[in-house]
Amino acid sequence: MDFVMEVGVEEVPARFLPPALAQLEEMGWRALEEARLRPASLSALGTPRRLVLRVEGLPERQEPRVVKVRGPSRRVAFDEQGRPTRAALGFAAGQGVAVEDLVVEDTPGGEYVFARRLEEGGPAGQVLSELMPRLLGALEFPRMMRWGWGEFRFVRPVRWILALLEDRVVPFSFAGVHSGRTTRGHRSLHPGPLDVGHARDYLRAVTEAGVVLDPAARRLQIREAVERAAARAGGEVLWDEELAEEVTFLAEHPTAVEGRFEPDYLSLPREVIITVLRHHQRFFAVRVPGDPAALLPAFVGVRDGGEEGIEIVRAGYERVVQARLADARFFYGEDLKVPLERWGESLAGVGFLEGMGTLQDKVTRMEALAGFLAYSFGLDERLTAVCRRAARLSKADRATSMVRELPELEGVMGREYALRSGEDPAVAGAIRDHYLPRFAGDELPASLAGMVVSLADRLDTLVGAFAAGLEPTGSQDPYGLRRAAYGLVRILWAAGLRLSLGWAIEEAQAAYRQVLGRPELAQGEAAERVKGALLDFLRQRVRNLFGEQGIRPDFIEAVVGATDDVSDAWNRARSLQEAKDYPEFADALAAFRRVVTLAEKAEDDTVDPALLREPPERQLWEAYQACRPVARAYAEAGDWRRFLAAVATLRPAVDAFLDRVLVMAPEEPLRRNRLALLRRLADLFGLLGDLSRVLVL
């Protein structure tokens, strides 16, 4: 049997729709399976005005099932002779089974009588009319609202519900609306109500009424229509996946409309034009064919409706685009009247995190932090000055009219205005780049200065947010701190920059103390707690990053606590990862692990050579003394590959020692001395990381 349910709503925000349809599909499957009504196929489709569940091949009834009902306890159900009592008879009659068919089972609460009976499944229609309102009520949206008399909540007001099983209405009510067989067509193409006779006619009925129900089909249609429209305008569309996704959920009947604007506006920066079109109007930009950098003075919009009046719509679109570009040109001109630095001065009036000063305070801290980072990375004086200057100007564009109007242009305008203000191009580049990476997989800053400013920005935000008690909990991360931390770790890793995160955090805390005049942000218990929590938080991002790079999880655990330097941790992890492919490695690891385990019993690490009686222990001691300075030198140089090779030379001596010397000797001084020797070895191995975490596979 076929079933279709359509919930007619007032326009649902585009961003809510894809997750809502995914929920509907998943929860629909689950609900039907749990209700023993497994269909042949099920899909959720929708537009801004309707959420639709289509089900095919539904059984007529639920599958039958055996139900077991608990009755009275055995003592109550049967008398001493084992004859059923009135209680048993009554229970059996109530369950519709013969009293002989009752069974006794042991339960945690004692022995009880049970009735088993075959329950026939209910008819699908009846089950659906109970299931559907519950399913709809369980849908979650980021925001819900009330309307009318205010008794119901949903993402937007519910205006009609169609629910048909074959040719019959499945009766239920949700959000005050009763289900029926009436739908509505497209708002302008077929505004009236429309009756549907049979579930399988539904799709055709709404399609004929101008609704492209399937988002995938709509998207394809948009892509093709937009490309054709761009071609009519003499160019190629600048395709934008994110915009296409939004547009797909803003129309029931998409029709592409191309338009033009005055070529003069092409003197605006390219990103400004693209952003004005996208942000304000959800329009696509059009570029010169074969030249990705050059735009045409044209755009393509997607209308919700047909061809009727398309010239009016085009004229309207062109007028609005023209006005928006005129605004942008006005802002651009205003912004260029004073140098970027002057815009930066008004950041004193813009708040940063609650209680953490203004954006101007933030760039002051970032400048200090950028200086520290440049010094840590050994940058020369000129580059250090570039980093500091870029940090100082990094947020200045936020005060400009263009960025206040179009926040997604932050950084882009900063670079543009910096260049126009005569700043060093390296500074301008770093201003733009410091927002990178914006998300996992995004590009990284192109220059070292961009990285330094990006790191300073992230460190400052993280320290401030943790100090203000805003660390993310659960899936909530309103300040994007996970993303900020991940980007920080990724930059250090990708560029191989050496930095102690602990020091960097302390430095950032010191900047807070200095700029805000609040010593407690850098000293004392609370500051220590912030540092510890932030280190843990960053360590978790290191785990994620290394995991994505294919490092074995036990290696990650071994190294992640051994250093607070991302690049160093990476070198350690990679040396382990590379070594694992050598056959000797597993053996060596097994030996090291035994050493580390035994060494836990050691009370100290003072080895008395005079007490080393057996040849293997003397040999091990000598081998250790020979190896130690070499291995330590490699460790200090961060050359973990050579370090591993060096300690691996100890393996024959370790094996011989463990095979032939009784560590837990009955004589206390001997035992103590041998354990101390093992402790020295374990400490040497431990320079690499916590080898007890490594699994011997």
Binding site: E10, E11, P13, A14, R15, P48, R143, M145, R146, W147, G148, W149, G150, R156, P157, R159, R187, S188, L189, P191, L250, V257, Q281, F283, G301, R303, D304, G305, E308, G309, I312, V313, A315, G316, Y317, R319, V320, V321, Q322, A323, D327, F330, G349, V350, G351, T358
Partner: protein, 314 residues
């Protein structure tokens, strides 16, 4: 008769009137037909039609209410000395309140657009998510901005809370931006070329006002005096509230809000102060809302059934 005004009347509009005053008349007739009381602007400065007591107070409580009126709204920080064709110190809103919101309200609204010449088949009419919040009024709502061929012409909002109180029943607020709508219907790009009547343009009537008010708000307003006025208005509002005088109290709340807006436009409000000023306004607005609810309850909700019967009943 200025030539400009005559030229301005050629546009894409088809039905209804084309002068701004015709649009107002058409909307009045249309919404009166929907059972709305045709009401007036309120005579105290305010930033939006929402602050007219016919909205702010009447959307509270259980009594149905339907009203429509023009509201000249002042936003000192949006003044542009009459230079920018899209930003104004004062703009004209056409405000409709339907409480509770009728089931077919979107269709009714689309019919109102048709009445003024924007027919849904030959235009691209869209409902684009836009939720609304007013920190001064302790109010929030959900809804859309309505676009006609890419241009925002209306705010369409279901009030969820007002004065910190949950709205139940829920009123829907429909706010048409009259200048933009008229500019579009008249086919002019510059708001100042909108014709209000065969004789008068927006330029004639408001350009000087835009310049003077902008200059006043940005350059001339006496900051020290405005601060004193805010404190005094706040004190007076509080005194009125204590005397159980709702409407005089509310007038002073509106004055507080407008005085704050002038201070803000003047660049005299720091970040911390902003929060504190807004909190003070919101606190007063809440007390007014509470007092209104008390008064209506005491009166036994006399308007409870006024829209309960006959055509257009909800």
């Amino acid at each position: 008769m200025p030539e400009r005004a005559l030229r301005a009347t050629r546009g894409p509009g088809t039905g209804g009137g084309r002068y701004l005053q015709d649009i107002i008349h058409t909307l009045d007739r249309f919404w009166a037909g929907q059972g709305c009381l045709i009401w007036f602007p309120y005579d105290v400065e305010k930033g939006a039609g929402t602050m007219n007591p016919a909205t702010f107070l009447r959307v509270l409580g259980p009594e149905p209410w339907r009203v429509a009126y023009v509201e000249p709204s002042r936003r000192p920080a949006d003044g542009r000395y009459g230079d920018n064709p899209n930003r104004l110190y004062q703009h004209l809103q056409y405000q409709v309140i339907m409480k509770p919101s009728p089931d077919d309200i979107q269709d009714v609204y689309l019919e109102s657009l048709e009445a003024i010449g924007l027919d849904r088949r030959s235009h691209d009419i869209r409902f684009v998510e836009d939720n609304w919040e007013s920190p001064t009024l302790g109010a929030s709502g959900q809804g859309w901005e309505v676009w006609a061929d890419g241009m925002e012409i209306t705010q369409f909002t279901y009030f969820q809370t007002v004065g910190g109180r949950e709205c139940r029943p829920v009123a829907v607020e429909i706010t048409y931006g009259l200048e933009r709508l008229a500019a579009y219907i008249q086919g002019v790009e510059d708001i100042y070329r909108v014709a209000l009547s065969p004789q008068m343009t927006y330029h004639d009537l408001f350009r000087r006002n835009e310049w003077e008010q902008s200059r006043y708000s940005f350059e001339v307003a006496d900051v020290a005096l405005m601060r004193q006025l805010f404190d005094a208005y706040e004190a007076e509002a509080t005194r009125c509230l204590e005397a159980g005088l709702l409407l005089p109290a509310y007038d002073y709340v509106l004055k507080c809000s407008h005085t704050f807006n002038i201070l803000d436009a003047r660049g005299a409000v720091s970040l911390g102060e902003r929060t504190s000023y807004l909190t003070r306004c919101r606190h007063l607005a809440r007390r007014c809302a509470d007092l209104y609810l008390e008064q209506r309850e005491e009166a036994g909700y006399p308007w409870r059934d006024r829209w309960g019967e006959g055509p257009g009943a909800c």
